[in-house]
């Protein structure tokens, strides 16, 4: 083969391979929305909807009891006080309940914080509906301000029989610095 032919062949191959490299770099980023789409479709990962559910009337199943536990924690020791006023509640699927959480800014500066919910077992997440929650938006606290915030929820009666306990965990993140 003569040298020009070879150089042309090499250049073409290298160009194609570089295109593959660029495409795969893009694919890495494309995985981010793809992963979210997959979680939305399947309801995996215990990721909870970040918006309020519509207040639908469900038939109340009085014969069944589900224990709902509430856990609170702070990310990277955010300077806050955060607790649930109810630790544990026995609920009937289909009935609406309201529980209160208390959060307080322990600093002398205004604070912006975001609570992130997580539900376990993850597969039960899609049956746990919140119509009202402080976690849907960022919360702003004045210096030293403390307040009580309600969460209104219902457990969908379609919840499979094997789930007897659902744990709702909130972590507060201090987002003040990133504002």
């Amino acid at each position: 083969m003569n040298t020009d032919d070879l150089q042309q062949k090499n250049a073409r191959l290298v160009r194609n391979l570089v295109l593959v490299v660029v495409a795969m770099f893009g694919f890495g980023f494309a995985l981010v929305p793809l992963y979210d789409v997959l979680c939305d479709i399947t309801g995996l990962n215990g990721k909870v909807a970040a918006t309020a559910a519509k207040e639908v009337v469900y038939p109340i199943d009085n014969s069944r009891e589900v224990t709902v536990e509430f856990i609170t924690s702070l990310n990277e020791s955010a300077p806050m006080l955060f607790r649930s006023e109810t630790k544990k509640l026995i609920v009937h699927p289909g009935e609406y309940y309201t529980v209160n959480f208390y959060a307080e800014n322990l600093t002398d500066k205004p604070m912006v914080a975001q609570a992130i919910p997580s539900i376990s077992p993850g597969l039960a997440a899609e049956y746990f509906k919140k119509t009202e929650c402080f976690c849907f938006t960022e919360q702003t606290f004045k210096p030293r301000e403390g307040r009580t915030m309600p969460v209104r929820f219902v457990v969908n009666p379609d919840l499979p029989k094997q789930y007897k306990t659902i744990t709702l965990a909130y972590t507060f993140f201090d987002n003040t610095k990133t504002q």
Partner: protein, 542 residues
């Protein structure tokens, strides 16, 4: 051992070629060289140096774990050591060593005068050096080197001090370097083969590297993307992995292991290739099942893309996901089993001799199979909950990397050193190196299975007293293994300086010229080889 010197006149004419000139003089030769043999040598020496750097870090780890309690280092530094040991060994030692072998051997195996893109070849080597130096510099930075494990999981890795951006840029450099190397290898194999060298006549080392190169260009960019996201999360307020902004740390694990699983095969496939090259020569038989070896390699490469979440069975996947990744992972045992069967069948009724390269290769087949079996145990999702993040997995992947990849790199060095240098290595010291290594590597890693099953977690500087005995035994094995590698360094230097003084023939090993083109050219290999393509090729390797 070595047979009568075989004359192959047609290849002795290299000095008639008008391109033929020797290497530049002095140090500059090594900086500006575009010769595939020079660059191969640079890669191999660099990898050997990094093998000792990464090995010293392992010695720090084993010294600290010799007894329970904190003896020598701070926990933070200990975690830096586990992280840096892995990064240096993966990106500084094993991968560059195989790239070095590819540079030296692929052109000689396919009858090409050089790599397809010689200047890019030089650039990818020096970029590797820059990347590793940048990585090493993080050891001296405020807050210490990265200490979150080689997987760099957020949010932990985001707590790294000043070193984080440097570590990330170093990963970028290492990635670009290996992508350039991979592109070069693909171009060489596709465009530079001697006309008689059809794809299905290529030596398996060439085949496995071709497939590895495709893995590299497919997954290194994904890893570059993942660490770029870490960078923007830390410094530019993005929230890819930050839950406060709606991100998810588990997402990083998915992206990382989409890269990470093919990455572990990037380190093992060329290993398979070298084993398939060496075993037939010392069994004095053609390789059993050449085409099945090619297809098995391709199948393993394909499967590596669809099994990544078996590294994260415990993150809370739904049962369907666990089952899928469990069965898909088990499938890998089939093509791997084909390979182990073929190597064994190649040796079956062969007229075997046991020179150092063959000893290392046989122990590779046995010990790699053990590492493969523990892998199969961990593929079982419910069992994996017990093994996850314990010393059992440490034992597993070290069995597939040390007595597999590293042993085969040793075998390759002993096998080709006479061709590279024109001198025979000292067989007695070579065998001593082998026996010390093979015994100590098992003292080092086998007890770690017991520790893991008993529940000892990985990446900890201190442990409960019930783990003390096996840790001490493991550390003793580690020190013997580490010290034995100095013998290898001695053998390499000794061979370069003249070795046993024995004159080696062109084919070095009995009838090796029937197994590969590299044995038809003079020893030591002249600076330029195959400036005219060979007209006939050996077929004993297929």
């Amino acid at each position: 051992m070595s047979a009568v010197i075989a004359e192959h006149d047609e290849h002795d004419e290299h000095h008639h070629d008008d391109h033929a000139h020797g290497p530049d003089k002095g140090l500059l030769r090594w900086i500006v060289t575009t010769n595939h043999k020079d660059i191969g040598t640079l890669y191999l020496f660099f990898a050997l140096a990094m093998f000792f750097v990464g090995g010293s870090m392992a010695m720090v780890i084993r010294a600290e774990l010799f007894e329970p309690g904190l003896q020598f280092v701070e926990p933070q530094f200990f975690n830096s050591m586990t992280t840096m040991h892995a990064l240096v060994m993966v990106f500084g030692a094993v991968m560059p060593a195989f790239v070095g072998l590819a540079n030296w051997m692929i052109p000689m195996m396919i009858g090409a005068p050089d790599m397809a893109l010689p200047r890019m070849n030089n650039m990818s080597f020096w970029m590797l050096v820059a990347g590793v130096l940048l990585l090493a510099s993080t050891l001296f930075m405020e807050g210490g080197a990265p200490a979150a494990g080689w997987t760099l999981y957020p949010p932990l890795v985001l707590q790294t001090g000043k070193a984080l951006p440097f570590a990330i840029f170093s990963v970028h450099l290492l990635g670009i370097s290996s992508i350039m190397g991979a592109i070069n290898i693909i171009a060489t194999i596709f465009n530079m083969r001697a006309p008689a060298m059809t794809l299905m006549k290529m030596p398996l080392f060439v085949w496995t590297w071709l497939i590895t190169a495709f893995l590299l260009i497919a997954v290194m960019p994904v890893f570059a993307g993942a660490v770029t996201m870490l960078l923007t999360d830390k410094f530019y307020n993005t929230s890819f992995f930050d839950a406060a902004g709606g991100g998810d740390p588990v997402l990083y694990q998915h992206i990382f292991w989409f890269f990470g699983h093919p990455e572990v095969y990037i380190m093992i496939l060329p290993t398979f290739g070298v084993a398939s090259t060496i075993i037939p020569v010392f069994a004095r038989k053609p390789l059993f099942g050449y085409s099945s070896m090619v297809y098995a390699t391709a199948s393993i490469a394909f499967l590596s893309f669809i099994v990544w979440a078996h590294h994260m069975f415990t993150v809370g996947m739904p049962i369907a996901g666990e089952l899928y990744f469990m069965y898909a992972t088990m499938l890998i045992a089939i093509p791997t089993g084909v390979k182990v069967f073929n190597w064994t069948a190649t040796m079956w009724k062969g007229a075997m001799t046991f020179e150092t390269p063959m000893l290392f290769s046989i122990s590779f087949v046995v010990l790699f199979t053990m590492g493969g079996f523990t892998g199969l145990m961990m593929s079982i999702a419910p069992s994996d909950f017990q093994y996850h993040d314990t010393y059992f997995i440490v034992a597993h992947f070290h069995y597939t990397l040390v007595p597999a990849s590293i042993f085969i790199l040793m075998a390759a060095a002993y096998y080709w050193l006479p061709k590279w240098t024109g001198h025979m290595y000292n067989e007695k010291i070579g065998q001593l190196h082998f026996w010390l290594s093979v015994v100590s590597v098992n003292i080092l890693f086998f007890p770690q299975h017991f520790l893991g099953l008993a529940g000892m977690p990985r990446r900890i500087p201190d442990y409960a007293v019930q783990f003390a005995d096996w840790n001490m035994i493991s550390s003793i094995g580690g020190f013997i293994f580490g010290a034995s590698q100095l013998l290898f360094l001695y053998v390499v230097i000794d061979t370069i300086k003249g070795g046993t003084g024995e004159k080696v023939s062109d084919e070095v090993w009995e009838d090796a010229h029937k197994h590969g083109l590299e044995w038809t050219i003079p020893s030591p290999a002249p600076y330029h080889t195959f400036t005219t393509p060979p007209t006939s090729i050996p077929t004993e390797h297929i």
